[in-house]
Symmetry: C2
Subunit: 358 residues, 2 copies
């Protein structure tokens, strides 16, 4: 099969940084090799910098972003625990599914897809929840939910935040915002292939871990003994993917978080302005619209499947379709990680202009 | 940090095949890209060939081998289900832990570490278990357990077999032996870095899935809709690692399963003969001794930590230490995947001879 390159402008994966692809080819060593442990430790340090936290328990989970979500819930939620979950998209629904499989009493706070959730509604949904959970960036709708007020008003609850599509792309402040558990995925704004889920957990949350997680694989009490000083074997770390994450975080921190956020902002907004000029109608409400992941109604005359096929096969560009009731009518266009470059925006807008030309 | 290469002769990871390292560098595409789906389909086909099965549900789980173990249990075991588990090493213990977190009533069949489990004891341990589970190759002891008689005598039970250290290294016959659920890891005899867990499930087992798995991430009913024709999004596939597994299986099948088994047999036995000549005493009982993973008591005069440090730093060779009560007294030496070459055996034996020389 010929090897084709793509400009990855779907909801993820994004194009990895070149340094990441080089790191993947680094010779594999053992998971207890001093060289690997040094890279793992530095990876965890870099994750602390990117999450803006001093949490000791900060590490890459050995699975994709969804494994991060499951790890976040199964360690703090047990049968009968009350969990308030904000639902304004597919991934909020998924949180409810994951939490209910832990036996949680789920208290949903629904909001229309495309709109942000009012933090006060989350704070007043239950008198004393164990966990309040929300998506920072809803990948299905392109909406950013406010997190900071939740940290201020959470009281005794643990604040659990999905940062899969936000980390590295927009400001995330785990410690300053009072987030207790945050997780992400490697394949969005971090510019690394899919396969790992960065995760950070506050000491406050660790003290409220369930006695025995229903998941052995994602049991953070056990995993922390490998990542920490004890180096006690739990499962074999995914060596090559850790190399890749280490390199991607290095590239991101060398650029600087502020610069990365500014780059995602500039390219995302340029894309959104260009789409509107071409007749696309933006979906997410304006003051909670993510720059790195744009949702837009297709303009008249553009057929979803035809257009995406031509973009892929003729121009080498991937964009994502809408989910659920929006399938066929909406696109999700990512501009994340290494993909978030002005040239890619110009390329996609130019291709769309050609597709829309009479 | 300088990049150091290692000859990986621990219990895993092994050295990946060169074709695998090339595949890791292949450009990342989306998880719904036709090019990726073709590679994923071919990967599943190749897994069917390697597992010797026609099971439709055959796929790589997006986690390491231990995620394969968890996926195997959480889809068929629910609260109160009786599960017979053979325990003659660390990974049998782990099975008990995983199964009990599913709420299973675990019936242990213990055997001394270093000895194989009598299949008749597993078959008669419970009148009507839902699952009988056993390790084909115990990585902690170097022992092979007999699987074929379990398939013959299982009755209504599902036969669940851990093939993490056996698949690709010794004969595994999922269909012919009546195995219902088997899983493996990529980093042993398949010659691929750690990160994925090949898994196969019989139709018989699928019909007896629990109504709703406690794990969302490992819910095979949902995952099968992505791997199958529906292509329904579940989680983002770990693209680069799937490339790597695809390539590793291609290398293995090009060599031929019989040839790979013979190579593991020849190199492993040569290593074992050489170790005995040097004064090591082999641990696993002789007629159930794995070729690909050797356990041996250290000879007098060889200090565990010193010797392993010198092997690693001076010769670039990793071997593994003993686990549990055997730590400091025993080594586990792998000769798996691309590592299973005569030159590596000669190198290790030569290095040990130098270390033992007065």
């Amino acid at each position: 099969m010929p090897i084709r390159e793509r400009v990855l402008m779907g909801p993820g994966p994004s194009n990895p940084y070149p340094e990441v692809m080089q790191a993947l080819a680094r010779p594999v060593v053992g998971h207890l090799d001093p060289d690997f442990l040094a890279i793992l430790d530095e990876t965890c340090d870099r994750l602390r910098s990117v999450f803006r936290t001093s949490n000791a328990l900060t590490l890459p989970i050995s699975g994709t972003g969804s494994a991060g979500m499951e790890a976040a819930f199964v360690n703090v939620v047990g049968p009968g625990d009350s969990v308030v979950i904000g639902v304004n998209g597919l991934f909020g629904e998924r949180m409810c599914d994951v939490a209910s499989r832990c036996g949680a009493e789920v208290v949903r706070v629904d909001e229309e897809w495309g709109r942000a959730i009012d933090p006060q509604r989350l704070l007043s949904a239950h008198p004393a929840p164990k966990v309040i959970a929300v998506l920072h960036a809803e990948t299905s709708t392109g909406v950013a939910n406010d997190v900071e007020p939740l940290g201020e008003g959470k009281g005794d609850a643990l604040l659990l935040v999905d940062c899969v599509t936000s980390l590295g792309g927009i400001q995330v402040e785990v410690d300053a915002w009072g987030i207790d558990i945050a997780y992400s995925g490697t394949q969005k704004c971090l510019g690394v292939p899919p396969g790992l889920a960065p995760l950070t957990v506050s000491d406050r949350a660790r003290q409220r871990f369930v006695e025995r997680s229903q998941s052995w694989y994602l049991d953070l009490s056990m995993i922390s003994d490998y990542v920490g000083a004890a180096r006690r074997y739990h499962h074999t770390a995914p060596i090559s993917m850790v190399y890749a994450l280490h390199a991607g975080l290095g590239t991101l921190l060398a650029e600087g978080l502020d610069a990365s956020w500014a780059r995602h902002e500039a390219t995302g907004r340029a894309l959104q302005r260009g789409l509107e000029k071409l007749g696309f109608r933006l979906f997410a409400e304006e003051d909670h619209r993510l720059p790195e992941l744009t949702t837009a109604w297709l303009p008249p005359g553009l057929d979803d499947a035809d257009a995406r096929r031509t973009l892929l096969n003729h121009y080498g560009i991937e964009v994502g379709g809408g989910v659920g009731e929006f399938a066929g009518k909406m696109w999700r266009i990512g501009c994340m990680g290494h993909t978030a470059r002005p040239g890619n925006v110009t390329l996609l807008l130019g291709a769309l202009e050609e597709l829309l030309a009479p």
